[in-house]
Symmetry: C2
Subunit: 423 residues, 2 copies
């Protein structure tokens, strides 16, 4: 047994996991179900966009040569809407009313915005100042040119990318498939969600929290239930779990469960790559593979299990799905209170985030930090990181905070509260 495998740093353990993540295959999905997926093909433009020169404004299509001095008067010969196909050329002294996105009529080479014109009698308008040729015209192919790669393989499909794909009439797109994730709990002390209330047992919660963390990444996991502390039952459940791309086993209690889970995994042909990371909470996390299947044996303490998911399982699942960005965004926040820490293990502190009067982000403890205290995990906006060598932080110090999903939103809009301030 290589002792190093029991004492990896968080970074070493992340790097180890990522070395073993296989790339997911690709599948075709309808455009309406493609949000958040990663393209496995280059998507090329099938036409120029805009398809011809069009107006960028509501106004009048003119010949710029007509507007030599001040106060030119032009005759309006027509009205061009988006979707029209204007055939009539604009002759000298003429113009046409035109809407945003409408094709430029022959002869015209500039747009005068409606607010820069004056309506006169007899279908005529007055224009006070000259315009340059090309003014407020969107040139054919300006957004994309026929044949050009509009979205490259590897692109994450954002709402904007969905718009681009619709522009290219891609009703189906080829994307990386999602991993099939199985979640198993283990431990005699666990009481299933639908089991009768037993005051001396511990209600099962880890698997539900892990399912929610998996769902938050766009993956619907499979729950395999609770394996009792019986070697055959456990082996059967693990064998079933190993048929999935990723298996998460949450031990009933840290060393106790691992005593069962680890040898059973090895007996099933799983190679363990580490079984201990210098972090708090979460030290007894283990990771192994069998062929291209990944197994994470997560600690039995509910918070430890969730923190290990964030650090190791989340980047693995995102890598499988083809994302380039594998890790939670961090923000810098100012501590409202001192945080103690003994150098040795990296520590993750559950915090809530607020903005102070100056708009600065501040971080405060989300409550009790015991690794069984899910209440503070429920309240937290993220995990404040105390690196392994850190000797504690004073109130007023700044630290990095990994943001949870719900923390993507804020109470303040930045507009309603302080419209007078510069950013």
């Amino acid at each position: 047994m290589n002792d190093k495998l029991n004492n990896l740093s968080v970074g070493e353990a992340q790097a180890c996991v990522l070395r073993y993540v296989p790339p997911g295959g690709s599948e075709a999905v309808p455009l309406e179900q493609s949000l958040g997926r990663v393209l496995t093909e280059d998507v090329r433009a099938n036409r120029d966009l805009p398809p011809c020169d069009v107006s960028a404004m509501d106004g009048f299509a003119v010949r710029s040569n007509d507007l030599v001095g001040d106060d030119t008067v032009l005759t309006v010969i027509g009205d061009i809407k988006a979707g029209d196909r204007p055939r009539q050329a604009i002759a000298s002294g003429q113009c046409a009313r035109i809407m945003t996105g409408a094709p430029l009529p022959p002869g015209a080479d500039a747009i005068v915005r409606v607010e820069d014109t004056q309506a006169l009698s007899g279908a005529r308008i007055g224009i006070a100042a000259p315009v340059k040729a090309g003014k407020d015209i969107r040139v054919q192919g300006e957004v994309m040119q026929n044949g050009e790669t509009a979205l490259a393989a590897g692109t994450e499909i954002t709402p904007g990318a969905v718009g681009v794909l619709a522009s290219l009439k891609r009703a189906r797109v080829s994307v990386r498939r999602r991993p099939r994730v199985a979640i198993l709990s283990s431990g005699d002390e666990l009481e299933a969600l639908d089991a009768p209330f037993d005051p001396e047992r511990i209600p099962e919660s880890n698997a539900y929290a892990l399912m929610a963390q998996t769902q938050a990444l766009g993956i619907e996991p499979v729950y395999l239930g609770i394996a009792r502390d019986d070697p055959e039952e456990l082996a059967g459940c693990l064998r079933q779990g190993l048929a999935h791309d990723v298996l998460l086993v949450s031990g009933g209690s840290s060393v106790g469960a691992h005593d069962h889970v680890r040898p059973t995994l090895e007996a099933l042909g799983v190679t363990l790559h580490f079984w201990g990371v210098e972090m708090k909470p979460g030290h007894p996390v283990a990771f192994g593979t069998r062929d291209q299947h990944l197994v994470f044996a997560l600690p039995g303490n509910p918070v430890s299990s969730m923190v290990c998911f964030e650090q190791f399982v989340l980047p693995a699942l995102r890598a499988f799905m083809g994302h380039a960005r594998l890790f939670r965004r961090t923000v810098t926040a100012t501590l409202t209170q001192a945080v103690k820490h003994r150098p040795g293990r990296a520590e993750f502190v559950r915090v809530t985030l607020q903005r102070d009067a100056n708009g600065r982000l501040t971080a405060a403890s989300a409550g009790g930090q015991g690794s069984d205290n899910l209440c503070s995990m429920a309240r937290a906006d993220g995990l404040l990181i105390l690196p392994e060598h850190c000797a504690g932080l004073a109130a007023g110090a700044t630290a990095r905070v990994q943001l949870f999903d719900g923390a993507g939103f804020e109470v303040a809009s930045g507009f309603m509260e302080k419209m007078e301030e510069t950013p």
Copy 2:
């Protein structure tokens, strides 16, 4: 016509919309489908957690009075796992091996961690130093006490909250319902996704981008298709849309479409509250209500439509769903290039975010900023905000950036790259 209604600031328009958002009713959903929803009931603990005093560590349950000096030797009388119900009391000179989460046996009042003990012959252990009574014990009810409110109405259900609800054996929970959202496009120039290719028409993209933006908030919208520029067809489609909680109409082209949409909405009994906001892109956005139904008439330019969704529709949908945090999180970023701006309208610039060598967030233009350029919207990590009075920003200046969903993740873990740095 009150002219003010045509020139609202972004903040005024946001405040106006939020005044008209009705609270969504509540519904019961299975725990496994509750992620991201907002509780409409206080959820109380149905037992103490932990249910009795338990060990916080793997180690030995001892009587602290036994460990008066150095090098005490104790006899191990048993092995207690999580889920056991120890009946045998620990007498003086005795101890029991105990796992994390396992109940404390009668007589014991402290835990000695396994790493602080030495195995001796004859089922005995040596302990080098005394421990205080209560050491490494999780006290009954420490996480939650029977009857206490564990999660209050109004709480957003995070993965941690799912874990808490599972602990409380809540297989179903009462949450705010989601709004029913209908999306309608309008404009003769639009070519449907499944229509034959016509090189002179504009492929419909707005509705697909709006659908994706809605889906990103956990809502599955209804797509009503494209209404042609025919008053009766438009009225029929709008009537159908108004049966939903929220109707988004995306005009074929800004003023052109509004010329149809606005009077038709008014004829259908919709009261318009504004029809113009001092912002770029997105000026021609309109908002109205009929009874408790909300209607947003969004600009026809695809980027304008998406930016208006972010500023007005998103907070309305989140308010309906009971969230306290209605707005996108903003981060402060340093500009890599100067940004021009004429004071007057608030401007939203599509940017990508990177970290520089010092870990500082930098913002660069995501490409062409034309309001028809969806390609830069597809690439953007967020919208840089230029407030209405801003006279431009120099390279190196800092600005606020509203983060899009995909920007919740980063390339760097903060651990693999620079484990040597303090935060």
